[in-house]
Symmetry: D2
């Protein structure tokens, strides 16, 4: 950590910072410039708060030197983490397509979707049983009943299942069915939930909060990792900006940046990012070309009658075309589907 | 709800929309312009999703006519909601100052803070026992022990207590001590938690998500209200923007806008918004002048040794000055402290 | 345009809107719902302001039906606009790579850059003579002298030149050398400058403002198009968000969305978007995969001694690798370099 | 400037940074931590670019120590700058209300507005002759003719005039009439225009870009100041965020923050920030309470027929009420109107 003093701060203010550094068990390293004094703090700053110094009179700014995440960091774990699931290896050269409807709506709907997905060559099926909805008056998912239908799909088609868990008390129940537990964008900083999935032995798909920085995403991953669960994959799904044509702004820079910062696999969800079926193909191609390890795509057997998110779900036909298109792009970046 | 067709969309596409409107049990109202056809949908659109129409070929855009919130709306409940607590009437002409330290750190610290607050004339004391923290390595509050200390403060000083609850399973425990349950900014869309506080008989202070629109804030209030708990107060606490000098950007426009949209009391938290003690006074004055019903301010007996958020907590002395300054501003807008 | 009245607005307020519609020479179309009245306005709304109705008592909201841009719109001009320059066809199946240093720094530097670019197979060379800089103390370009050096490069290497123009009075001078005039991100809404480049007979590369919506970008294009200059190409270069790891957030959704809305060619500038050389390759591949018509990349013969923007400029060697990588991606989306 | 090396960067990378520091004429100050080496650079960093070091292999991040603005800084000029105009002293204890219509529309309109303003006790009248408009099809102001009408108003009523200048070539003409030249939000980084107003002897009102940071605002002020014009006042007018209920988000934190950073007067424009007449009063009161030196308010004799921005202009009657309300708030913060 580096403490930057105000211009021409008097010596007693500098000394107050130095004293505080010693009190907290660190070592100061003072550098006197022409206008300002800068104090470096030697030691593991992850256990320090900027506040401890910002409050001292004469301090202008405090800058961290270390990244605040550790287990999630590539410095700590240089090799890519690879998570094997149902014959797929997430984080390897293979690009993974997870797809399925927004919500489990009925036995017929989810079986039809799963059949189409299986036929198209899919391995990891997504569908929501518990649905976070902005309005209390919207369809909030079939809950436990939806989970049972997913268990049926799993055994009928041999597909792995990824589905969302919304509260700590749901974790055991969802983990009983799901192969991957999804933490949704609105729960990325629900720390009790992160603790809960950190203590189980199942892979976790952690979606970036729609207004969270990459650093906050990695700090939330750090919650899960530091609780003992090492199988975490990240998912960029669009961030909130001033632009209104798209539902959110897909931040594909996050792929190369996160690849540099962390060893965890990076997926991309183009469906929630843009909110419109017509743009999914272009954004999926771009995601693969940027280096993503996989995609999470919404596909519904009949998007026009979907109970939720109809506008952004693609049809099974569009999904097959998407797979064909992505195979070519994957190859062009030395990967395979 | 209004469906706007693409320019010169053919009649069969228009008909498909009309058919869908009938299928869903609503009535269409077609208006043919020079370039575009527009279809109004008559009925209570709160039970309709835009998606149901956006997915139909030829549809360019779907616009809601009604506001999606109902019980929270001033149309539904024209008079201000007033919430009486410990001799205060939140939402009345009286301006309420809730203050106290970021976290309960120890018995001595919380008693010293409470004593200073009581002497300054305060009624509702704030302090965190459960603390949401970005890093798993930061101090996460004293938890149950912190709650016990708050119970002691309550009986020792006759202060009402507002404190955060982070998970549904904590609700009964926190409600056993707190007079107001706070939902923090990162949990504004934790729907299981909103449901849980909606079922108890205690006032709820709902903080705006740092990444949430006013409409989403009102929809989250609607969750609580529609579960049966009518004592909800809202709190603007800064939103995330591109500006980096301040921690967040305090959105004071939210005060007059929310006053127009809803009957619920509106508080303002300048401490988390700006992140720096030196700016609290100016922003507190501005909040009262804009029409806020009260403030939530962080005050610590010794900010320089605070375990969390030291930089934004003011001293008891600064708090007394703040109260004196705010009394004058309150009077200038025909209110009292 | 659609005027949505407040809930249960009285008949005289509705009548006031109807009267105003007639006064302004349009026809009203009233639709009475259960809670609200909605008034459609028939006629070419591009000459109407929402304000004309928002100010009337009882009006809650005014919604546009038509897009505010016309000549830029694909409705108006369904075929892609193709702009031929120096043997390239911008907007065709061919993907165009424009590259070169941030600034013209010296004769040696710009010749070395141009030679490397030419050898790598480039056609359109970029370099800044007039540089917009946040600080008045930074290097602001060589100005006219830089322009002369670009004229030399042009004749020596047979490269077309794209370079920025910053003020209306510079337009004739810059147009004397440049094959494409670039309007920078900070000048996207400098309307006097847009008017000036609208009146000349040279292609214009219009960069999206870092703080501008796609609609505003198209409205700025409309300024140029409506002044008579039809050769406009758009460039996405990153927008400002809360994320700080990258300089800006590259909005690749803009590519498919703009392709749907407009017939103009869409380029992408990954260099300014992310601000770091290491991420350029991944983002360039993503841009091409998303459907962009070309790229604008910063390349410097010796990035480590560049006077401006060193961190985001790639070396000639990295540029040759980039071209090879992009050739494969272009092919995978049925295009060529 | 401080250069932070990557974790365990080898000695030759550290040496490369040290060599570069010497080459550029500065002195390095190396501090070796447990994981990282940090190199402080001693000298006036305002003439250094971060890029010069970011590009060197092994460098993780570069942090500025000094603020990039100098003449605008309170460090440089501790006392408030006070600008006397027409009997007002902007930047003193006196709070200044500048008001008038969005655009000069006609002789009658502008005279009626000026008369009402004068009667209400106003001193500095605002109205636009040159209007920046998003659409080329909107009313763009009366131009020179509008300027002549403002000259008439000035001599008829003895009011000082503040009006916008949009291009360098308009500066002499506008300066011939205006007492204060306004730089609009879209031109805050139009550097040629900043240079032009920096060379004249008239006060300048510089509006913050709607997506510019406070630091960028101060850097733009620095352009004007460093060209020799010391009479600059700043104006916060709302920034662009994800919130859509208000046109922009008024950032009142900017008032205390800018007051700390700079000696220049700070005005607030609530009209453009919120976009709706009904919210102007609350936001104006808040602005004064936060410490602003004045306001810029849109007032139209007949807002319902205004050619531009009708929805946000208040009537003369509302303006008189506003003045009365503000007088009380000003007094409550020890200032006067």
């Amino acid at each position: 950590m580096i403490v930057i003093m105000r211009s021409h701060a008097p010596q007693e203010q500098v000394q107050a910072v130095i004293d505080r550094v010693h009190e907290l068990g660190f070592r100061p390293h003072v550098s006197t410039g022409e206008e300002r004094t800068v104090i470096g703090i030697i030691g593991d700053e992850r256990h320090l708060q900027e506040d401890a110094f910002e409050i001292i009179e004469g301090v202008e700014r405090v800058v961290r030197v270390l990244k605040p995440f550790k287990i999630a960091s590539r410095d700590f774990h240089p090799e890519n983490t690879v998570i094997p699931i149902n014959g797929c290896r997430i984080g390897s050269k293979q690009v993974i397509l997870m797809a399925g409807p927004c919500s489990v709506e009925s036995r017929d709907q989810v079986f039809e979707a799963a059949e189409a997905f299986k036929e198209a060559g899919g391995h990891i099926f997504r569908a929501g049983a518990f649905k976070p909805r902005t309005s209390p008056y919207s369809f909030r998912g079939l809950g436990e009943q939806g989970l049972c239908l997913l268990a049926e799909v799993k055994s009928a088609f041999g597909l792995a299942i990824v589905t969302e868990v919304m509260a700590p008390e749901q974790v055991p129940m969802v983990a009983g069915v799901a192969d991957i537990l999804q933490i949704g964008t609105r729960n990325m900083q629900n720390y009790n939930l992160l603790d809960a999935v950190g203590r189980i032995d199942k892979p976790v798909l952690l979606k970036r909060g729609m207004m969270s920085t990459m650093e906050e995403l990695l700090m939330s991953a750090e919650y899960i990792l530091s609780s003992g669960n090492e199988r975490v994959m990240l998912c960029e799904r669009g961030i909130r900006t001033f632009e209104t044509y798209t539902r959110n702004t897909l931040d594909l820079s996050a792929v190369p940046v996160l690849k540099e910062l962390t060893h965890l696999p990076i997926l991309v969800d183009p469906s929630h990012a843009c909110g419109k079926a017509a743009w999914i193909n272009a954004l999926s191609r771009a995601a693969i070309a940027s280096g993503a390890d996989g995609l999470l795509v919404e596909m519904h057997p009949h998007p026009e009658v979907a109970i939720s998110d109809g506008a952004q779900q693609i049809s099974p036909q569009a999904f097959r075309e998407l797979m064909a298109d992505l195979e070519r792009v994957a190859e062009a970046v030395d990967r395979s589907l």
